[in-house]
Amino acid sequence: MQKKKLNLKEYAVWIMLVVLIAVFSLAVPNFATTGNMVTILRQVANIGILSVGMTFVLISGGIDLSIGNQMGLVGVISAMLMVQFGMSPILACLVGLVVGVIIGLINGLLITYTQMPPLIMTLGMSYAARGLAYIITGGYPVYGLPESMKWLGQGYLFAVVPVCVLVMVIVIALGAFIMNKTYIGRQFYAVGSNEEAARLSGLRVQRVRVLGYVIAGFLAALSGIVLMSRVNSGQPMNGNGMEMDALIACVVGGVSVTGGEGKATGMIGGMLVMGILANGMAVAGMSEYLQMLVKGAVLVAVVAIDCVSRHQSLKSLLKK
């Protein structure tokens, strides 16, 4: 009989998730409550939405470091439109989403047509977005959002399901569907795996790459709007650094930073691991510095396990 292949890469993140939940449930009294579980989901909602966009970009062989600061920029733009120009929340949010798409488009077009490294382009865009957010607000938060704007980030559906969690679930489900089940999704993998081979198979490689950044920009904007609604104000520094959390969630979930590999399901695992880790430690009363240390350690450990499992050596070790 054939032994099923031991694929550490795919399972590592789920094993870790189970271990984490078990450890925190035993060690931290207030952790395993329904209330806390919902809190965790609410806490990961922003990162979750953001990570889907990051996954698309990573799979197509790029990276987008500007999505974190895009959240802040979109948040303040939408907030100002509502507060200072009296625009209706729906319209203001739509404008915010369009801003995200435009930023993604600029990233994508500049990267594909100048062939500059995505890391540099999006790093530049990250600073530019943050700068712009400070300039238009003068550095002050935008308060006084209409009541109806609260619903998205703080509201509940049927009094139990947080709306922001629902948004995340829909985004992830849609993202996973596109990645795994559609022609468009396949193209991302193809381009990330071997750009030239994809081109010679008749794929419009540059369009695919641009589309990745556009999706990332759109979802960054969505995430920014959700966050704005949750904190009930437009904060220019909102989202700063979240691109790294999204990146970590992706990598921990097995999405390759060199492109062509990774699954949405893995990313969900990665996001939950990071979310539970942060929440568990906070509930247990650990300091923020200690939390950073642990986050870093987890990232390195998971990637190390992944790299080792790719080589046969560990497999033969386990056999002996």
């Binding site: 054939q2 292949k5 089940k181 559609t182 022609y183 468009i184 396949r186 193209q187 993998y189 193809a190 795996s193 071997n194 030239e196 081979a197 994809a198 081109r199 010679l200 198979s201 008749g202 794929l203 419009r204 062509g260 590999e261 046969q312 033969s316």
Partner: protein, 494 residues
Amino acid sequence: MEEQNILELKHISKQYTGVKALDDVSISFRRGEVHALMGENGAGKSTLIKTLSGAIRPDEGEIVFEGVSHAHMDPHQSMELGIHVIYQEFNMMPELSVAENIFMGQRIGSGKLFNKAITEERAQKILDSMHAKINAKETVKNLSVANMQLVEIAKALTRDVKVLVMDEPTAPLTDAEVETLFEIVDMLKKKGVTIIYISHRIAEVFQISDRVSVLRDGKFIKTVPTSQVDRDELIRLMVGREVSDTYPKRDFTPGDVVLELQDVSGNGVEHISFAVRSGEILGLSGLVGAGRTETMRMVFGADPMDSGIILLNGQSIHPTHPSDAVKLGIGLIPEDRKQQGLLLNLPIFTNISMATMGDISHFTVLNSRKEKEKVNHLVDTVTVKTPSIAQLVRNLSGGNQQKVVLAKWLAANCKVLIFDEPTRGIDVGARHEIYKLMNELCRQGIAIVMISSDMEEILGMSDRILVLCEGRQAGILEREEFSQETILSLASGQ
């Protein structure tokens, strides 16, 4: 008798998921012999070589080198012992110079610093001793494949090499270049170097090897002195059954002109004009660098064209991107499968359906049942040896990877198919299958352009042959005019 054996492999086994790549293989190699290793695609040749170089560890068995037994090798140790492997896929730093590549990992001169002048001088000496016309200062990425091959050999010569392994060294070479390679092999043999030589070209094996060992499905079949077997016997040992090794005949006449080029220039070629009719195979011959690939890449929209007209079914077309060509029904099977043909870290089915995803999806949603059916059928047609279509392409043997690229374009229902070195690295049995397949495509009315450096293949399969020389059209030969001499003299510009 035992004395002469420099290297013995004993009871080597290696298991991969679903595949027993090597199954109790024992072979011994003598000092100063040219020992050919033959077998079908996926027989385990490359895997065996990798255990020698230490790239992989065998599950079982031992490697006895000069009387010392090793359970496995590691790459550094293997090199120290004097074993050097030139892999099927090269192993070079394209951005560095020839000299730097040749002395990669070695310290030259007395100081701690890299001494450029001395390195280049020493590298040039080695290249000259091989009668290779290569400048040691040249950047590797600018070299032709043939010259890269020679640089790989030069790399081995910097060390005290005792066993030189070449995994399909001649696959990308033309006849003239093969001759140069054989002269070097001869020279090394005289120095007492053992050469392990893997190739699917049977004629070559008879030309240079002293003994030949055959593998089949991971098992060792036999070692025989080359002088004591004939071609048919060798094929039978490899395949395990009778296989025809002649070129299958096509018994129908070509139809109307499908693809026509009128005075096409650009991409390093000038004034190319030819026409291919439906059901016809036009062979494109010439030396490496003559512009064969360059011409067809323009037709496919992969590279820009400067001037001229391309007609498809009488209509002028202007493909500016491969996707235009694919839409028009033109397919190109590229020469370099690893760089241009395959998504190595993705499964077989993704690779095969890549050019035809539109056909198996409905409003971009893929129909995975339909895809599976289609891919399974194609995998059977071209006989890819694999436990499953979900296998990652990087885990396939070289020849089976080539079959995956072929299958991708068979899926696409093209009107014009451009085959660039279609049988590179493909074993005898499968080669015959591919020729039959090409005939079948012709019968369906497809026009085929076949670029090939294999003289037998081009003479055997083409209806007409277009010969290129240094970017210009040297002549078109009709069947009656076919001969190796005519082609060679046209190709070399005489």
